[in-house]
């Protein structure tokens, strides 16, 4: 399929994720070639290849700092994992237990089931881990400020890749129990959490909206 305008999403991703000093020229070249009989799929392929090449080249050029940053982030998340259960119990005691007692005290069993379906019981750990991922991304960027886009992208890819077996399992569970809506909600929550919430937290923690500041650095 051909269109005179290149896919804006691909251009936006390149604007945010390419750290090359010649980023604007590269995007301009792709726009120019796209206008001369190139398809949207070609533009997308070129954009993704440009991002992957840029990230790998940046990581390789700063491999020692990148390794150090990734080790520090992993240790920070591991340390948080040790204290998270205690934090969760303390926070849940302030809102979840009283809410459950209130709902069950009025014999609102349907409401209680729906609080489970919409994942209200998992709200505290979800928010705690989202905060941890935001903080770890901010820490990584502080350790490696000039490779911000590369390091945030690597963290997101590593996170999604590490969740891949669970993502597949959640779909299998749902397909094995097509009539039970609970499995659908479980799968849906897991997908939203893995592919939207955590990557968004890493994106925000890494300060990826500050594209103009990144340009000035170069």
């Amino acid at each position: 399929m051909r269109s005179p305008e290149p896919p804006p999403m691909a251009t936006w991703l390149m604007t945010r994720l390419l750290s090359s000093p010649a980023r604007e020229s590269l995007i301009g070249d792709l726009v120019e070639r796209h206008r001369h009989r190139r398809a949207r799929t070609w533009y997308w392929r070129q954009a993704l290849l440009a991002i992957a090449t840029d990230v790998l080249a940046t990581m390789w050029a700063h491999r020692l700092r990148t390794t150090r940053t990734l080790i520090v982030v992993c240790l920070a998340l591991y340390g948080f994992g040790l204290v998270e259960p205690r934090l969760q119990v303390a926070i849940d005691a302030s809102w979840k237990t009283p809410l459950d007692d209130w709902i069950l005290g009025r014999q609102m069993y349907t409401t209680f089931v729906w609080t489970r379906r919409i994942g209200l019981d998992a709200l505290t750990p979800s928010l705690l881990w989202c905060s941890a991922f935001t903080a770890s991304s901010a820490l990584a960027v502080r350790l490696q400020p000039r490779q911000r886009s590369s390091i945030v992208l690597v963290l997101i890819v590593a996170w999604v890749a590490s969740c891949e077996p669970f993502l597949v399992q959640s779909v299998r569970d749902w397909m094995d129990h097509p009539r039970a809506s609970m499995w659908f909600w479980r799968a849906a929550w897991f997908w939203v959490w893995t592919l939207a919430a955590v990557p968004s937290c890493m994106w925000i923690g890494g300060g990826m909206w500050r594209v103009d500041r990144l340009r000035q650095q170069h």
Partner: protein, 111 residues
Amino acid sequence: MAQRGFPGGFELLVLLALIRLGDEAYGVPISEAIEASSGKEVALGSVYITLERLERKGLVSSRLGEPTAERGGRAKTYFRVTAKGIRTARHAQHTLVSLWTGVPQLERGTA
């Protein structure tokens, strides 16, 4: 292990395309020249990464052009080969040709 200062395979392709194109070379004609000679699609991102590496080695210099509407208001970066780049390409040519000649398997019409 690659010899220090000897350009890699893709670096040499980009360098030769730049020499052919002269002073008005930028990403689009460079990638088109490589595609025309190799018959394979070239990733523009790889061309730019290679050009940056060649520039760090002092084999290529760059200058920023004016933004144009056709490119969504983005400027072209023009590249040209430096004297050191020419010397490096010539050295690579001598090395490759001396290795090439006298090899029966690489003679035309064999294999």
